[in-house]
Symmetry: D2
Subunit: 283 residues, 4 copies
């Protein structure tokens, strides 16, 4: 008998009995829980978060979401969403000249490691065209001319409209306006080449070298209107020494950047990320 | 209103509805789930494991365990146990001459970091007596004379009888017999100074150097009658280079050993470890 | 004034004055030492190893190697070699079906990160042909039929003869005979998907899962006739948990494998690796 | 024949022939180089740094330093110093209430792992007295009353005068004035409980939690008059998750702090640290 795999993600004011209510609801509809994770920001009075993955017979899915709303979601005052593991998210990638994060995502996607569809790549430079089309993905050049960011953002927004559920900035070296973020209306993940909040802004490797830090790193975060201050999804670091030039740091850092970004994107696509204040819960 | 914090740990053949049944049972008795983690070895037919930590009013505790047995545990064919977070485990430590793992545990215990009582330390050498008594812990010398392991194990077993819920081998350099393990009847955690299964047995640092490995490590595991083959609880490694002598490896390794052992002991004391075949689940 | 960058790598019985003699020799010929590293296996009587990178005016290079032999190399009983940083090594890669290590090397080579030329890729399967030719590198299919390893090795050896200074096994799933290694006469680097000496041989991820280890890893080593026992160049590990299936371990491990192999190949190409007994010094 | 182990540390404008000159000088005086490491900030025109450890017969030591000055140090315009590995540095430790860094240093010193003498511990609180005296080390309470930092610093400076070659701040929670640093005239190493330059100042764990970082860390640095901006000696990080409370971060961080501080102190005591601008070279 074939089964569907669904996910339910819940955020709610903490109250006794939430897990019991959710688990019972699923059990009574013949669903079988594969995974369930939960977190309470403050035991007995904070915010409650839950993610569960369950299998269910296709015939039992009809009306599931509506019944949940009536029986559980609304009475408990929850935010919630159901997703279907088979309906993978559509990703649009923005890049500039550097190819490491972009190629890494394309390659993981091609080998079936990324449960997502990469629907298009857009760049403010033409240099990555062949690389992208070689993977069978459409490439769009959207130049950003000096003093004409608004026009470029307008072109980009039109291009992306309805084409993606997630935008990934794979070392896209342009700052996106709050207006653009609002207009595209889907989550945006960026990779920053430092272990934020250290070295926000430009040139982090050069500044890391000048400050003499012994670790360099990378940070994947959701993009908000406040530059480099969005909620952090994932971070990692690598050891460095006084022998490493800035060029070496750039090269070493590239390996960390692509790994960290790939993890963040994979978690997002598996509905494992929940935002809580300016933080991200990884379930 | 004061509340008690209890833990419930469950192992069971996987069946639909276990989480719903457990969560409902707790909710109906006024318990509030603080943490709940679960694992199924094989979705839809394997072994099911669950750990939950919950608070409950003292007045509602009476009969809880008995009711659980009747309503949930027996019908589902579970193994289960309730523990009270306040009833900390009593630890007996066995050591030889090396002090690093022993001192680290004693120090963590003194600063309140280890939710446990260290009730006694026994050693086959007298050298650590002052160190141990300086922490206010009784020290017992139980020499192991050549060809007289059985007698020493008998003395040890008498000493430990009823005094501890966990035995920790903090670099105790004697092999314990299956008969001893059976007689003491409590779990035994050992720290091995290599990243098992590499370099089982004696002299791992010397052999690591000869083999030219680039990482050395340590492994905390439950002790079984099969030497160095018990279920692994925790492991970690540290980078090494050709410049490190065996003496340097011993020194570097000591830091990994004490960290790994401390984590394993803390997890055991928080009822976070479940055995599944020859593996350990860390919840 | 343009300068050439050369490297000198020395192995010698330890004797007083080697560094002084080498440094003086270079200084008197107008060379400028950029980097110098040295190691003695046992102070005052072991084996001495030295690697130095220096710049020198092209006009002063004539006769350098010959003068070194007469003045230093032979009197001290050294093994030594000079290399020119600009004469990059030619690499032939052998692969099977898995593309992760192969693509990673090709991509690093294309972006100029690998100071080497990838001259050809050979595989016992046709599946990676398009991937390889997409990078502009010749691809050769050399099938290995059951019971006909010798014939396949003969074909391979003919293909490789004079075409490469280094062979890299990028998850090539065939065992190479001692005879083949001798015939090709260049160093061979392999990536093994475990932290050797744990889990030598086949299926390490499956066995890692069964043994319940908390870390999985990869090992790059020089290939010798003794399977998985050649000198270790580099290793790294990644944390795993009971939740990871064997398929997940394979995927996580792939990231470690490609990083570890890339480091090993880069070090070899920069003449940073010296063999000492069955160990590798990384300078 | 017994030998002495000496170290020579050199900083100099980069010029051709420095290594040759130093190595030849040592060789001609019968010294045998055990280790030699060198770094040039910019090949062919930057600053040159060298550290070498060598053995020499006691009879050949007379006049060594003076001859070096005349023959090498002054002609090359160097800063240099010779140290004797047997003349270990005297360390004074300042602490407040937290014991983890302090106990770790005392314990490493007692087991002979730290090539140094711990001559005294001073604290602005009395609570660590028994801990310190239990290791046989003098303890001095030097309270810092509100508005009377100058007086306290005066007392401290008198206490330390001539008693130490290095001051270690093992979580000493008072800011030291530039005047004090000048008066004591020896290097001061501090451990900061964040991966600087992220979260300088007070309360880094609380701020790390609020910012939602996925790694917490610690930084050992030389103290300068600019708070938390002195040259970084060593750093490390540990992974954290949304489940960790600030209290958990403090506990996890303590393990990183003590490890990082111990490494920094050990390197300083082995004369492995050289300052270059606001950076530290680790040889």
């Amino acid at each position: 008998m074939s089964v569907d795999t669904l996910r339910l993600v819940v955020s709610s004011p903490d109250r006794p009995g939430i897990i019991a209510a959710v688990a019972r609801f699923l059990h009574e509809r013949g669903a079988s829980i594969v995974e369930l994770d939960q977190y309470t920001s403050e035991p007995g009075g904070g915010q409650f978060y839950l993610r569960t993955e369950f299998t269910i017979a296709p015939a039992r899915r009809a009306g599931l979401a509506g019944e949940f709303a009536t029986a559980i979601g609304e009475p408990f005052g929850m935010h919630w969403r159901f997703t279907d593991a088979r309906q993978v998210k559509r990703i649009a990638i923005l890049a500039s000249r550097a190819d490491h994060c972009l190629v890494d995502l394309l390659w993981r996607w091609r080998r079936g490691e990324l449960a997502a569809d990469i629907t298009l790549v857009a760049s403010n430079h033409p240099v990555l065209r062949d690389t992208v089309t070689g993977f069978g993905v459409p490439f769009h050049e959207v130049p950003v001319r000096h003093g004409a960011r608004d026009a470029a953002e307008g072109t980009l927004a039109d291009l992306l409209a309805g084409q993606c559920d997630l935008i990934v900035l794979a070392r896209y070296m342009q700052i996106l306006s709050g207006g653009f973020l609002e207009k595209v209306g889907v989550p945006v993940i960026n990779i920053h080449h430092s272990f934020l909040p250290a070295f926000p802004g430009a040139g982090p490797y050069e500044r890391a070298r000048q400050r003499g830090v012994k670790l360099i790193g990378a940070t994947a975060h959701y993009v908000t209107a406040a530059l480099d201050e969005g909620p952090i999804i994932e971070q990692d670091v690598i050891r460095t020494s006084h022998r490493d030039t800035t060029a070496t740091l750039v090269r070493l850092g590239a390996d960390v950047e692509r790994t960290v970004l790939a993890r963040a994107v994979a978690w997002h696509c598996a509905d494992r990320l929940l935002q809580y204040d300016n933080r991200v819960l990884v379930f």
